[in-house]
Symmetry: C2
Subunit: 310 residues, 2 copies
Amino acid sequence: MLPTEILLSEVGPRDGLQSVRATMPTADKLRWIDALHAAGLREIEVASFVPARLLPQMADAAEVVRHAVTLPGLTVMALVPNRRGAEAALAAGVHKLTMPVSASPAHSLANVRKTPQEMVEEVRAIADLRRDTAPQVRLEAGISTAFGCTLQGTVPEDEVIRLAVQCAQAGADEVGLSDTVGYANPAQVRRLFRRLRAELGDRAGAAHMHNTRGLGLANCLAAYDEGVTTFDASLGGLGGCPYAPGASGNVVTEDLVFMFEAMGVRTGIDLERLIAARAPLVAGLPGEPVYGMTPEAGLPKNFSQEYLRA
Amino acid sequence: MLPTEILLSEVGPRDGLQSVRATMPTADKLRWIDALHAAGLREIEVASFVPARLLPQMADAAEVVRHAVTLPGLTVMALVPNRRGAEAALAAGVHKLTMPVSASPAHSLANVRKTPQEMVEEVRAIADLRRDTAPQVRLEAGISTAFGCTLQGTVPEDEVIRLAVQCAQAGADEVGLSDTVGYANPAQVRRLFRRLRAELGDRAGAAHMHNTRGLGLANCLAAYDEGVTTFDASLGGLGGCPYAPGASGNVVTEDLVFMFEAMGVRTGIDLERLIAARAPLVAGLPGEPVYGMTPEAGLPKNFSQEYLRA
């Protein structure tokens, strides 16, 4: 029996903004997050707690979190690469921390200047910090480059699963798999999530898919078939991969919601309001391309999401 | 056990060209078809045999067919809406005829000025003609708007299956299902192809999916999971749906080949040569947008199709 409900985790305000050159003004970020929440999103990755000199787009992370936690029913998530970031994120009041642990040593060093093994130790340190200071906060680890790496090429599946198990043992509540560079294919997605669930059970986490080669939704479908119930996505597909010029990055939230809702799988998201949430994104990032086929094509005739208003 | 090989049926020179305003010069069409064949495509829908006053793009249909049949190993297909078209296509030497039979009465009347039932009778007439004059030629019926219709909205699944069975009884060798307007979702694709195969066995035919709302590849994956082994696709996604401005139409051949090859499912198509086959398309239709993520992003590092050269 496949799940009849899934959770869409919107990553645009963090993953998306981190990948664009421009800095979105704080006021626009808040309007955008409000619009996402109004559309029915229940989990949003709103910021990254990294030094402002490295990522000026995230200089307002604490302010964004302090606003987002005022929205009822929302789980406010932030990315933290290390203990210092986690301390700041917890001080700001986040509900959930997410940590990037790359399965490719080359990518890990380029991304966070640590080896995969050193990042497992960071997970442990932050899990301990969380336990001692904010036990209600959830901790997620996302295995980056789980399906391949532009620097390294193939990433051994055994290595991905080994690292995921280590993150869970180090204290992560859930461990997801990320197709950071858009290399994944549905057969591989099925294999890896099947193994992940066999090892971690309910602590097997989100599928974070990119649409770099057009396979984003097919890969999400493959993960869904394996029982995955949390999917990362980005409004307007914001978040291009720097290694794939012109190609969009993250799976487009609008198209993913349309796919699941059309299949009869509930997301809790109102598609029309979701499409309306593109307006503050576009206003805050003038000139930045946004992707998504469903917003352009419109909803099918007689397409109904009436249950949302019921 | 899922199929380890599939057949990609390229529909760009017919379906694609029929949807654009411009007329591609015959010499460019032939260069394009040559390039598709050189990339490994083994079935191409090269033309539509309809009155030139209705579709000036197809005025050279017989000439295109006469050239295409000189390419070794190629199955040359043409669309025919009626007996007169079939006679002309057979005279030109096609290997396979395909007939559009719409499950939506409104769409059927708009498209071919006949009801679905009248089209079943056309299938019967052409099956008889084929039997008497060219028994080696294959006859396919494609059920249009099988997943919904922009004019009618929902199309009853029972009606789609009933029509497919009638087409097979009337003499079609294979009956496929077409998502003419891009309404299909993976759950529906699975349901309908499962029923089609239960009714028709090996005469259950191709999946013809559109990417109007971004679900094209996910729907192809769903059809593959149900045992479908023939997939229509269009180079560069040529073939926009007039009801969905700005949205691409047919599933992009390049992305579909990448998906299956990455999964280890053989298509017989060389991706680099396939991407090179975009050049004559672009040259013959200046200014026309072409789609496809894989050509923009490039192939993954270490991605190999070495078996093709083995």
